[in-house]
């Protein structure tokens, strides 16, 4: 068996490229944040496409992608925002496994255009060889833990990849040549609808009744909010109608979750993947877990509209999303002749 270990070399890091998986759980009680992918569904789909476990670490790229030198035998998949990827100057299809057949080829990701989302996930068959820190490969940028040396990638970095030999064999068997440097397949996995204008579904927050009825109406029923450029992996600051408390009240700091919508200075802040573990601002709403991936693809300047659902409905949305991922995983296994 071909055990030669593949590597990738970073030619250009892009705006913010880091190793992320599903997140670091179990350590929030120590003040250690979860981190992980902003769009975990695209992360899972990228991993499924290359035959990995759903929660394997991948590269998350933001707005402007990286350029990477790849070698023959490497199998990768791109999901999430479309960054017009090219390998050796030939367009790379997204949402499916791609086998590199040229000895050295540069994979270049460009900026995300107007018509697409904010983040692209690049998964490699066999995963990326970075250590598990506290049970996760995710990069905790502020504390310098996890991922590749605890930081975002830089030009010149060399990352080792896991063994992709069996995926490469399967693609040689079931795929077809799409260019001088790539073999791929004709099927593709579904994708996160990154550009839909559909409202983001939310449930009432724990302090929703602290707000005036006008504010609740503005948030849940009709208001539109703009994602400001003070938005990053930690949180999205929104701008829109002013949200007011019925009377001034202080909240004692308490835990928060991915998608918690806090209100500070009359404006909502949605807590994202790199959120702190606790917060002291009143929580008007909570984003349904199933809609976090779509939210993770929003960019500064985008308009958000919210739609209230019940917690029961939010549970069902999450169940349906998990069922969709399980179905995709088994069809991909079938298409690749895996497990037969």
């Amino acid at each position: 068996m071909n055990q030669r270990q593949n590597k990738i070399k970073v030619i250009d890091s892009g705006l913010l490229t880091s190793v992320q998986d599903m997140g670091r759980y179990g350590y929030q009680k120590y003040g250690i944040i979860v981190s992980g992918a902003m769009d975990t569904v695209s992360l899972a789909l990228a991993n499924i496409a290359v035959g990995n476990q759903l929660d394997t670490g991948t590269l998350e790229m933001t707005l402007c992608g990286a350029s990477l030198e790849l070698h023959a035998g490497t199998v990768f998949a791109l999901t999430g925002a479309d960054m017009s990827a090219a390998l050796a100057d030939e367009p790379v299809p997204m949402h499916r496994p791609v086998l590199v057949t040229r000895r050295d080829a540069v994979l270049t990701l460009h900026g995300t255009g107007k018509g697409t989302g904010a983040r692209t996930y690049l998964a490699f068959a066999g995963g990326i060889h970075v250590p598990q820190r506290m049970g996760s490969q995710s990069t905790y940028l502020r504390a310098g833990i996890g991922g590749y040396q605890g930081r975002a990638l830089q030009a010149g970095d060399v990352l080792c990849l896991g063994d992709a030999a069996s995926m490469a064999d399967r693609l040689r068997g079931t795929g077809h040549r799409i260019s001088t440097s790539m073999i791929s397949v004709s099927w593709r996995t579904p994708m996160v609808p990154v550009r839909t204008m559909r409202p983001i579904r939310v449930t009432r927050g724990l302090q929703a009744d602290w707000f005036t009825s006008d504010s609740l109406e503005a948030f849940f029923a009709q208001g539109t909010f703009r994602l400001t450029n003070q938005s990053d992996r930690m949180g999205y600051r929104l701008a829109g109608s002013k949200l007011c408390l019925r009377q001034p009240r202080e909240l004692i700091s308490e835990p928060v979750a991915f998608g918690t919508v806090q209100v500070a200075d009359g404006q909502p802040i949605i807590l994202m993947a790199d959120r702190q573990t606790t917060g002291g601002y009143p929580k008007i709403a909570q984003v349904a877990q199933a809609d976090l991936s779509r939210l993770g693809q929003k960019k500064a300047g985008d308009t958000l509209v919210f739609e209230e659902v019940t917690l029961r409905e939010a549970e069902k949305l999450l169940r349906d999303q998990r069922a969709m991922l399980a179905e995709v995983e088994s069809s991909v296994h079938l298409a690749l002749g895996k497990g037969l």
């Binding site: 759980y25 179990g26 350590y27 929030q28 009680k29 120590y30 003040g31 250690i32 820190r133 506290m134 049970g135 502020r142 504390a143 833990i145 449930t203 724990l206 004692i252 700091s253 308490e254 835990p255 928060v256 979750a257 998608g259 918690t260 702190q276 573990t277 606790t278 929580k283 909570q286 984003v287 349904a288 877990q289 019940t310 917690l311 029961r312 939010a314 549970e315 999450l318 169940r319 998990r322």
Partner: protein
């Protein structure tokens, strides 16, 4: 123990054990945290303890696999399963109280280069720097919760006589180990971060040790703290000992 349960979305439950910051409420928070750590229920992901509550994060899809005898259609199913588990834990808790609180002794080199705000704090209270040190080392301190940064303790018990407002302009970077005062709180910065606390000294202890996956932070919610003064030579010696340990 009286508990009130609230859903923090469809994937977490907040168990409220009181409404104010108080050692008795904290004791309940600590006991429930301990019980959850000892016996996590199926589908539970993790818990986070705060001043007056414990929040348990769970996977609602896993919890939905469990059958409940009675369900309330108005409430999310996972929440009801989680609530049932936690209520059972609270019922049984009387028998297995949490362990005795740990006492952690924290050496601090007060003032000078390590405590750039010491002179301001002393003049704010019209006392000497030695008085501030005497007061700060005499407090009965309790770590109510950990948050803000890895291993950052929210500490209660600062003598009111030395409570000091935050600095008007926050510092861009405060070195790890810095001991500060903000209002009636005192705390220690585990990693270098920006901050507006009045810095009165620095400890050579390492509060955040990411190499230790089992126990990555020196302090935990529920610890009692004793600050004691050391001089710069002792600081250097302890720091060296810590590095070689």
């Amino acid at each position: 123990m009286t508990a009130t349960y609230y859903p923090l979305g469809e994937a977490a439950i907040l168990v409220s054990l009181g409404t104010k910051i108080d050692p008795a409420v904290h004791e309940a928070v600590r006991s429930l945290s301990y019980a959850l750590a000892q016996a996590p229920f199926h589908g539970m992901i993790e818990y986070v303890a705060a001043y007056t509550n414990v929040t348990v994060f769970y996977d609602p899809v896993e919890l939905a696999k469990e059958q409940l005898r009675q369900t309330d259609e108005a409430l999310p199913y996972g929440f009801q399963v989680a609530r049932q588990h936690i209520a059972a834990i609270l019922r049984d808790m009387g028998k297995s109280a949490a362990q005795e609180a740990r006492v952690v002794r924290v050496p601090v080199c007060y003032g000078g280069a390590y405590g750039p705000d010491m002179a301001d704090v002393a003049s704010y209270h019209h006392v000497s720097e030695a008085d501030i040190v005497r007061q700060h080392t005499s407090g009965d301190y309790l770590v109510y919760m950990i948050g803000f940064a890895p291993g950052f303790p929210y500490v209660g018990g600062l003598p009111k006589a030395i409570a000091t407002p935050r600095r008007k302009s926050p510092r861009v970077s405060i070195p790890a180990g810095s001991v500060g005062i903000a209002g009636e709180q005192t705390g220690i910065y585990p990693i270098a971060t920006p901050g507006g606390w009045q810095i009165i000294g620095r400890t050579p202890l390492t509060l955040f040790r990411p190499g230790n996956d089992e126990d990555p932070t020196l302090l935990h919610a529920g610890d009692k703290l004793v600050f004691y003064a050391i001089d710069e030579a002792e600081y250097q010696a302890l720091q060296k000992a810590g590095e070689s340990a």
